[in-house]
């Protein structure tokens, strides 16, 4: 029984996040592409793999297909074997009361039989939404050392942004490493402290079981941040904060998503991507079938990440291109993130565009407000679109997925939504 896993990791991957608009119309946020070849969920999954934790469950609810397809059999993260594996846990119909997951903690509650069957010594609960690298063994060790009921990873955020997060007041018990959480506030209007929760929780399972039961019986809301942690604080349980100091990329809005992508670029990128050892499923969207990136005679590429399977004949600057994207002659792509299999036609100019898979930009299409004064914000193009030649689209526009191409006007003003 030595090989039996002591830690069960559960990834909360159900959510869709309204602010990402068309990017999450057909997939949960955790399956949104990131970094030129990967998906957001590859970050927690690869962190788990690199931490040697290989018994994992994924709680999924919203449009799970893309996610289930991506996880496959878990082989990409070496999670197949006698005690290794990834189980996708969707909502299910039971005998009696069956319902959708009503919140993050309800998703775990509804799968308690699964958790109790594995019977781990600690339960690691992670969000599938963030871009970061963490060795979870450190927080687990700290958790065990403190004999804590809950240890939560926190990062210091600027006070002016703190109101968006669950915040912990951590004492100096272990200095830089962490300490006891004295107070916890979920998204307070006037924050008094600024250690923000990363949604990386290490629970003592027996304690969590009791708290979940009480929460289901007595409350009307079932979220870890809003309900479970405050309840544990009220009961004066041993809640510890583990102080994380690495990079943490938040991707809840289009602007944040864009910025986190851009953190991969520059002379000294904030994300040391090559060192993170991020794995993805190479069978998903056939990335494994791509040949090396092909670069033509007149191409110019600067400060960009471009994956196999792309063909670059035009100009690419400060951008991230996923497999299978073709930038034709005379085209220019700047400050953009183009997902799989985009085609940027001749002389087309894209400036700060996030474009979902299978979108074609016809000859001479212009997107963005390059050269014009004023703030520029990303325009987002949904998947499977064909933007006709010479169409002009401003900044901060949204084009819905798979529109008939005549539905997209020849001129779209900044801030417009085309549906």
């Amino acid at each position: 029984m030595k090989l039996k896993p002591r830690t069960l990791a559960m990834i909360l991957a159900g959510g869709r996040v309204d602010d990402l608009t068309v990017l999450t119309f057909h997939r949960p946020k955790s399956a949104v592409p990131f970094g030129g070849f990967a998906r957001v969920i590859d970050f927690p999954l690869s962190n788990l793999m690199n931490s040697g934790l290989d018994r994992v469950a994924i709680l999924s609810q919203y449009r799970s297909y893309s996610l289930i397809n991506h996880i496959g059999i878990g082989a990409a993260w070496e999670m197949i074997g006698r005690y290794r594996g990834i189980s996708v846990l969707p909502p299910y119909i039971g005998y009696g009361n069956s319902q959708w997951y009503r919140g993050s903690s309800d998703a775990v509650y509804q799968n308690l039989d699964f958790v109790q069957y594995i019977n781990p010594e600690q339960l690691l609960i992670l969000s599938g939404d963030h871009i970061y690298r963490m060795d979870y063994r450190e927080i687990i060790n700290y958790h065990r050392e403190k004999d804590a009921d809950l240890t939560m990873a926190c990062i210091k955020v600027p006070m002016r942004e703190a109101h968006r997060f669950g915040l912990a007041d951590i004492d100096e018990e272990d200095g830089d490493l962490g300490g006891r959480v004295l107070r916890y506030r979920e998204k307070p209007e006037n924050p008094e402290f600024n250690w923000a929760s990363l949604t990386v929780f290490c629970f003592k399972p027996t304690v969590l079981y009791k708290i979940l039961e009480a929460n289901i019986k007595e409350d009307a809301s079932y979220e870890f941040g809003r309900d479970i942690i405050p309840r544990m604080m009220n009961e004066n349980l041993r809640v510890y904060g583990y102080k994380f100091r690495g990079y943490w990329g938040y991707t809840r809005t289009i602007e944040e998503y864009w910025q986190t992508n851009m953190d991969l670029l520059g002379p000294d990128p904030k994300i040391k991507f090559a060192d993170w050892n991020i794995r993805t499923n190479m069978e998903h969207r056939g990335i494994g079938d791509c040949q090396p990136l092909k670069i033509g005679d007149n191409a110019r590429i600067s400060d960009s990440l471009i994956y196999n399977g792309c063909i670059i004949e035009g100009e690419v600057e400060h951008s991230i291109l996923f497999p299978g994207t073709h930038v034709e002659k005379g085209a220019r792509v700047k400050d953009s993130v183009l997902f799989f299999k985009n085609v940027v036609g001749k002389e087309a100019k894209l400036d700060k565009v996030i474009s979902d898979v299978n979108t074609t930009f016809g000859r001479g299409v212009r997107i963005g407000t390059e050269g014009k004064p004023g703030p520029k914000e990303a325009s987002v193009i949904g998947w499977n679109n064909f933007i006709k030649a010479d169409t002009i689209i401003g900044s901060k526009c949204i084009v819905y997925p798979a529109l008939a191409s005549e539905k997209i006007p020849k001129q779209v003003e900044s801030g417009e939504v085309v549906r």
Binding site: R279, Q291, S302
Partner: protein, 421 residues
């Protein structure tokens, strides 16, 4: 996609390919990297996969380790499952006679137990040495429609090269009536591609006839032609043997042409993503703001800070600022430091080129390598696996730097044209 249940594939992957010089010092020719992400054998394996054949035996002999690692379970080429499989067939000692493989036919004769364990209608024999795309199912259909005993994949090659091949003279219906192996004075331009379809029972009978006949091209085919139904299947399309340094370099350069005849991705060629290169662990290629790349193929995991022109780079190559790579093939995880100049070179894996070094100096491309004048004579310089070239070294044309040469191998910082270190 057809389900070719009835054809067993035997892939001959034992070739030394000695004219590839130090590229085959540690690996067999089919395992030589090609087109950035692939090895030569991926082309044959993917053709088999795409033609729907499901059972493959790979006959190995020369330095099979990297080949075995590369094949793994065969999963990249869809050879795993209840009715699928790929097996490595090395030479082995037996109860009575045991020997190395003495030739192509002998290799199969020594593995008759494998053949007998996979009864099928036909046996398709391929070589793992070639770069091509072919619908092998169409070949088998042709074989069946002609009710042939043997069908040989053949193509037209230029008169100047024909002496390297087995050649066949056909009649009007495509039947081969005469065979000449590597003729000095060729009478035809139809050359064998080393691709044979045999009827299953026919091959077993033919192999049993005379154990002294150890080679298909030399012995068995000429004999069969005189009395049995042997047909030529005409192949048109891109096919290269890449058995010489020059041909290997040219085929890589063919990838870079406009509308190239060769496109591994369009051909459906699969690499092994999980073999020791760990392609699956590579992030996208990074181009910094000072980089300049034209007419090249760049693989994931490369970091380009300098200039790359007309070259093929495998995963993980680092090109430092101010350095220039031109007309070269650079394999996995080589590191080209600041200000180095590389012109017309083939670099094996994990080579380090020190700051400001020059590879391919001068214009005397016609001084052949003094040790291997018939291997290197067009100006290409070869640098072996994990060699480390000290900073400021200047290396000429047609040079060979052997694998694992480090600082202490270099007594002088100028290496003359045609020299070997």
């Amino acid at each position: 996609m057809n389900n070719q249940e009835d054809t067993l594939v035997l892939l001959l992957a034992g070739g030394v390919g000695s004219r590839l010089n130090i590229l085959v010092q540690t690996r067999a020719k089919p395992a030589v990297p090609f087109a950035g992400l692939y090895r030569i054998i991926d082309f044959s394996l993917s053709n088999v996969m795409n033609s729907g054949m499901r059972h493959v035996g790979v006959l190995t002999q020369y330095k099979p380790l990297s080949l075995m690692r590369h094949l793994g379970t065969g999963e990249p080429w869809d050879f795993t499952g209840r009715s699928r499989g790929i097996k490595i067939l090395p030479p082995s000692t037996g109860f009575r006679d045991s020997d190395w493989y003495k030739g192509t036919a002998d290799a199969i004769r020594q593995n008759l137990n494998f053949v007998r364990a996979h009864p099928s209608k036909e046996i398709l024999i391929l070589s793992g040495d070639h770069i091509y795309e072919m619908d092998l199912y169409a070949l088998v259909e042709f074989h069946r429609s002609k009710k042939a005993d043997i069908t040989i994949g053949m193509m037209i090659v230029p008169q100047s090269q024909i002496h390297q091949f087995g050649t066949g003279i056909t009649n009007d219906e495509g039947r081969i009536v005469e065979w000449e192996e590597k003729p000095k004075v060729p009478r035809t331009n139809l050359a064998s591609m080393g691709i044979y379809v045999f009827n299953y029972d026919y091959l077993l009978k033919l192999l049993a006839e005379d154990k002294a006949m150890v080679d298909f091209g030399m012995h068995l085919i000429p004999r069969a032609i005189t009395r049995d139904n042997v047909f030529a299947y005409p192949f048109e399309g891109y096919w290269r043997d890449v058995g010489t340094i020059q041909a290997y370099w040219e085929a890589n350069m063919d990838l870079l042409k406009d509308d190239p005849e060769i496109s591994p991705e369009n051909w459906g060629i699969r690499p092994n993503l999980e073999s020791e290169q760990l392609l699956a662990d590579r992030i996208p290629a990074r181009f910094t703001s000072g980089s300049r790349v034209n007419r090249s193929m760049i693989s994931a995991g490369c970091v380009i800070e300098g200039e790359v022109v007309n070259s093929v780079l495998s995963p993980g190559v680092k090109v430092g600022p101010g350095s220039i790579i031109r007309d070269s093939i650079i394999m996995h995880d080589c590191s080209i430091e600041e200000g180095a100049k590389i012109d017309l070179a083939i670099m094996d894996k994990r080579v380090k080129i020190g700051k400001g070094s020059v590879i391919g100096k001068g214009e005397k491309k016609d001084i052949p390598n003094s040790k291997y004048p018939d291997h290197l004579y067009t100006g290409i310089t070869l640098i072996g696996k994990e060699a480390e070239i000290p900073p400021g070294t200047v290396i000429g044309r047609n040079c060979i730097i052997n694998p694992w040469c480090k600082q202490n191998c270099f007594t002088d910082n100028v290496i003359q044209d045609g020299a070997t270190i």
